[in-house]
Structures are given as C-alpha cells and as structure tokens.
C-alpha cells in the first residue's frame, strides 16, 4: 500500500506539505477513489474471465457511448456535492428538456437553436434551485426535490406519450458513429460526437475545479462554509454557480441522450439522479463535501455502466435486482467514506 502515495494523483486539491511519515501512509482522501479504480479493474478482470469479450475495443466503445450522458450528469453533480449540497432535479431536467427539444425540432426549429434552448432550460432550473438554496436557506435536497417535481409535472403537462425525433433530424448527427480503428469483424473502436462532448466536459470540469479560483472556492465551501465566508471567498456566488453548472450539464446530457435515442417522454430519466449521485459517491467524493475528484466520478459512472453490462451478460441475475445492487454498492461506499472521515478526525 505504501506505493499508493507515490502514484501521481493528478487531480488532488492543494494539500499541505506532508512529512515523510505521512507520505508513507496511504492518503485517506484518495482512498475511496482508489477503491473505485480497483473495483473497476476487478470488474473488468472478472468479466473477461467469466464471460469473455470485455477487454476489447467494441465493448469499451459501447461503454463510453452508452454512458456519455451519465458521465456528464456525474460531472455536474460532483460540483454540487463538493460544496456539501445535492441536486435531485437532474433526471427531471432531462425529461422536460428533451421533451421540449424534440417538440421544437419536429415543428421545424433550427437544430442549433433547439440544442441551445435545451441546455438553457437546464440552466434555468439550476438558477431556481440555487436561488432557493442560497437566498432562502432551503435545504438543497428539498429545493431540488421541488424542482424535480416541477420539471416532471411540466413535462407531463406537455405530453405523456413518447415523442419521436424525426429520423433525418440534424440533432441525431451527434450520435454518428465514427470508426477510429477498424478492427477485425465488429471489434471496432468507435466514437461519437456525444462521447467527445462528454470527454470535453470532463476536461473542462477538471480544469475549472483544480486550476481556477472557482474550483478552489468550491472545495473551500465543502470543507467549511463558515471558514470560506470568513476568508472572504465569494460563497454566495459560488454556491449559486454550482447549481447552475449542474443544471446546465443536465441540459447538455438531455441533448446527448436525445440525439442517441431519438425519443423523449415525460418519464425519461426517472431515477437518473440516483445513478449520478451513486457515480459521484463511488468515485470517492465525500457526501459532506470538501473532498473528491471529478475523474473519480467518471470512474464511478463507468463502474455503474460496466455493472449493467455484466448483469446483462450473466443473465442469471434478474434485471429487477439491478437497483438493489446499485443501492448495495452505494451503501458500501458511503460506509467506506464514513470510516475514512472518522479516521481522519482521530489523526
């Protein structure tokens, strides 16, 4: 375990200089993220041995293509959870945003305008949540729960039947499959604009969180809001900002998801907020805020995606049990965090 700290931790927040002794002990803050990486690798190895055809280009491509929206959601939620808040409205934002988007596109709107509107719908919900949380002291999960119901209710008012995006709609071009490496048979390394969007979002979030003042403030608020206030950091603006970021990225996830599936419905995205939260927690971000990594959330999202692949391959686990397994994994990681935090207090 001693070598763990020697690994470069690319996205570690600024840590104080550590003595030789503490360098030799594994860093508690990176432990959950490392656990997620270990679990991911373990799942890949197990899947390869038990079912085969896991470590190959097409499976990895599909994992990314199918989970691009989840990665984007998880990145948005990382910001919110780092400040100690939570955003439960992301699933509902996807429902209303994709529904409005498909309806506008089908009535002949410019596809670029439609996509911009879809993203802005998410931003608007984020602004609402942020104002409620920051200016009116509403607990984050109540405020975003209200937004979730507002979003779903509005989506249900628009339509309760699936709306289909026209087959020749330019929005669908976001899910064009590009062959990067033409492998043997169907084993190609494929990517889509959606995947690139997701990777860009991850890269941007990484830079914002670790290289900018905004990111530093996000970590500071999660560590202690009082201290952040006393240090004169822009707490109000930043807390508002994280909900706007989360909402905007949910809007972007709606674009990505709609372009891939081409169908929008008022029940699209039910429970995705839980998947996204699970991805963030599994990725090692503390639920109480202040510590975590955006790259960890990506690993978390991939763990969940791979879990679905393995369950499908296995076939003996009923699909109904998927949520139990997700819940179980989530519980294990929350317990792990609890352990880490209590250890940290003692030292």
């Amino acid at each position: 375990m001693n070598t763990l700290t020697d690994r470069p931790t690319p996205d570690a927040p600024v840590l104080p200089r550590r003595s030789l002794l503490s360098r030799l002990t594994p860093n508690l803050e990176t432990l959950p993220t490392l656990a997620a990486v270990v679990i991911f690798i373990g799942m890949v190895v197990y899947g390869e041995i038990a079912y085969g055809r896991i470590v190959q280009a097409s499976t990895i491509s599909n994992l990314l293509i199918n989970n691009a929206y989840l990665i984007i959601l998880a990145v948005g939620l990382t910001f919110v959870i780092l400040t100690g808040g939570v955003d439960l409205s992301v699933g509902a934002i996807i429902a209303i945003s994709s529904l409005i988007g498909v309806m506008l596109a089908n009535s002949g709107w410019n596809p670029i305008a439609v996509m911009v509107i879809m993203i802005l719908i998410g931003s608007a919900f984020g602004v609402f949540s942020g104002v409620l949380v920051q200016y009116f002291n509403v607990q984050p999960f109540i405020a975003t729960l209200a937004m979730m119901f507002l979003g779903r209710g509005l989506a249900s008012m628009l339509s309760t039947t699936p709306e289909r995006l026209a087959d020749d709609s330019p929005i669908r071009s976001l899910s064009t499959e590009w062959k990067v490496i033409d492998g043997p048979k169907i084993n190609d390394l494929i990517t889509t604009p959606n995947v690139l969007i997701a990777l860009l979002v991850v890269a941007a979030a990484f830079v914002v969180l670790h290289k900018t003042r905004l990111g530093r403030t996000v970590y500071a608020i999660g560590g202690s809001e009082q201290s952040a206030l006393l240090m004169g950091l822009p707490v109000v603006r930043t807390k508002l900002m994280v909900y706007v970021i989360s909402g905007t990225l949910a809007g972007l996830a709606a674009v990505v998801y709609t372009s891939k599936l081409g169908i929008a419905q008022n029940i699209t995205g039910v429970g995705w907020e839980l998947d996204a939260i699970a991805a963030v927690i599994i990725g090692g971000t503390l639920l109480t805020g202040g510590a975590g990594f955006v790259l960890g959330s990506v690993v978390g999202a991939l763990v969940l995606g791979l879990m679905n692949v393995l369950i499908t391959r296995d076939g003996s686990i009923p699909p109904e049990a998927t949520t139990i397994i997700t819940g179980g994994i989530l519980l294990v990681f929350v317990l792990l965090q609890r352990l880490v935090v209590s250890r940290k207090r003692k030292t």
């Binding site: 100690g84 409620l132 009116f136 607990q139 999960f141 209710g153 429970g271 109904e320 949520t323 929350v334």
Partner: protein
C-alpha cells in the same frame, strides 16, 4: 400565526373546497345509500384518499422532528403491498386468517427496512438523506424481486374490506388511520417521548448530555415511519387488490414531506405538530381530487405540489420572515425571528 402554524393550511383547504363548490355547488353533498347505509360523496372520497397520506405523514413528522428525513416511504409502501399480495396470491382460501397473516408479514418486512434505516442513521452515523435514498432505491428493487417484476393481484375479501369497506357508513381506512394517529399522538404527547424527539432535533449533543439516548429513539422513529408506510402500502394496494411494483407509493415521500411542512413542522427539526400533518394530509388529498375534478391531467399534479412546497419553504425562510417581521411592528423587534444558523446542512 406562531401559535397555530397550520392556519394557512386550513385556509388553503377551505379555498380549494370553495373552488370546487364554484365548479359544482353540490360538491360537498353527502348522501346515504338506503340499502347499505353507506355514506357517499366527495368529502368521504377525500377522507378515504387521505388515509394513506396521513399514515406516512405522521411517521415522517416524527423523523423530521429528529432533524432527519425518510425518503424510503414510497418504496416501503411498494414492498409492503408486494409482500401481502404475493402471500395472498399463493393462498387459495381468501379467508380472514390469511388476510391477517399477509398484513402482519407486510408490516414485519416494513419494520425490518425501518430498522435498517434507523441503525444506519443512529449507530453508523450516516446522513438520513443518503441512507433513506439507498433504501428507497433498494426497496423499489426488492418489491420488484418479490413479485418477479410482475404486478401481482390476489383475491381476498376481508383484505379488500380494509380499503373499500365501511363501518357505520364511514370508510374503514379512515377509521383505522384515525385510530393509529390517535395512538401515536397519545404516545408522543402523553409521555416524555415527544419531548425527547424534539430535543434530539433541536440539539443532539445537548440531548445526549441531558441523559437522552438518541440511538434507541432514532431507531424507533425510523421503525415507526416504515411501519406506518407499510400500513399505507396495505391501504393503497387493498383498494385495487393489485400491487403495481413500479407505481405503488411512487412520489409518496413527496406527499408526506409536503404534508409535514404544510402542517408547520420545520424541516430543520425540533418542534413538530401531528395535528398540522394530519391537516396537511387532508389538504393534499383535496388538492389531488380538485386537480382531477377541474379536469387537469393528473400527471401534472407534481408541478402544483412543487409550487406549493416552494411557497411554503419561502415562507419558512429567515429572509422572508425577517422581511415580514420588520414590516409588521417595530415594538417587538426580532422576537419572532429564529436565529439558528446551523440548520441548513442537508
């Protein structure tokens, strides 16, 4: 307003009834069926519909009073319904005996889920919100596993009677709900239990130093919440004798939280009002009925509830209250403005 935090709930309730009366002047009429002696009419329907909401709202009130939250009630309802339906569909008799066993079994499973919540929150020290989010996720899956993903139906007259039957013309569900609420109210208000719950919500550390053991009380509160959710699950599946694993109890946690905050219990924990929550439950049942009555699609109800909950949260917020207090009088400055600052953590 400080003494009766649920005065606005009563006003809103009356307002909704007036709206209904304007649409149909005979809305509040109650007729007596000559042959069976049953009462029928919209007010009876509202009472019947409010029973499950009342159950989960009362449990939720106690949980929220300890500064917690129980998001798993909807899933517990589904699990409870799934257990009872699955049990009775395997029994051919349909007698009162199997109905009782089914109900007890459902309540036992609910109590188990509540214990899990309580232990994780009190002993392990997890945040209530994430704990119950996990049980919500896993509970819905559990319900689906119990019925193998099917919407199981069963036939059992005594069980059905629980939801659709009447005693002296009154719906049985409402009577049972009333009795349970009375028992809970007696337990928390006639003993020191209520005070202990409130003290944990106001300041857990001070409560512990005052000799209260938070662990036992917290576990008990989550068990009560889950068992009451189990009762609600029995009510809502018994009326149709089918459990819809994906739909039963969906969004019930929202209804319960809404009922509690409408009733004047602060989400920050501490003082609670069971009467307020009961009125809140009646208000939500009326709101549901009104939306259907005004022929608005019922899938749009969450939007209305979201608006209501946002308004109530705004009314509870210090910023708005301070604004009101400043405008109201200058003779009693800041007396009614709470100055607790640490209440915002999720």
């Amino acid at each position: 307003m400080v003494h009766q935090p649920y005065i606005w709930a009563i006003v809103t309730l009356l307002l909704l009834l007036v709206i209904n009366l304007i649409k149909d002047p005979g809305y509040l009429g109650i007729s007596v069926n000559g042959t069976t002696g049953n009462l029928s009419g919209n007010p009876i329907d509202i009472l019947r519909a409010s029973a499950p909401i009342m159950m989960i709202a009362v449990g939720m009130t106690l949980v929220i009073a300890t500064r917690g939250i129980d998001l798993s009630v909807g899933s517990v309802m589904a699990v409870s319904g799934a257990v009872s339906m699955e049990f009775m569909s395997n029994q051919s008799g349909g007698d009162a005996g199997s109905a009782i066993v089914a109900a007890l079994l459902a309540l036992a499973v609910s109590a188990f889920l509540g214990t899990v919540n309580g232990v994780l929150v009190s002993i392990v020290g997890l945040q209530p919100f994430i704990t119950t989010l996990i049980t919500m996720l896993a509970g819905r899956g559990l319900a689906k596993v119990i019925t193998s993903g099917q919407n199981t139906s069963a036939t059992n007259e005594p069980f059905r009677w629980l939801a659709n039957g009447t005693v002296f013309g009154f719906p049985v569900v409402f009577i049972i709900a009333g009795v349970i609420v009375a028992i809970v109210a007696f337990l928390v208000r006639r003993t020191a239990l209520g005070l202990m719950i409130e003290s944990i919500g106001i300041n857990p550390r001070a409560a512990r130093m005052a000799g209260i053991r938070p662990i036992g009380i917290l576990i008990a509160v989550y068990i009560v919440s889950a068992v009451l959710a189990g009762v609600a699950g029995i009510f809502s599946t018994a009326s149709v004798m089918t459990v819809e694993v994906a739909k039963t109890g969906l969004n019930a946690e929202m209804d319960a939280i809404l009922a509690v905050v409408i009733g004047g219990t602060s989400l920050a924990g501490g003082k609670f009002s069971l009467t307020g929550s009961v009125i809140g439950a009646l208000l939500i049942a009326t709101l549901d009925k009104t939306i259907v009555f005004l022929s608005i699609p019922s899938s749009a109800t969450p939007a209305f509830k979201a608006v209501v909950i946002v308004i109530i949260c705004l009314l509870q917020s210090q910023r708005v209250r301070a604004l009101f207090a400043r405008r109201k009088s200058r003779t009693t400055p800041t007396a009614s403005v709470p100055t607790r600052k640490e209440t915002v953590s999720a």
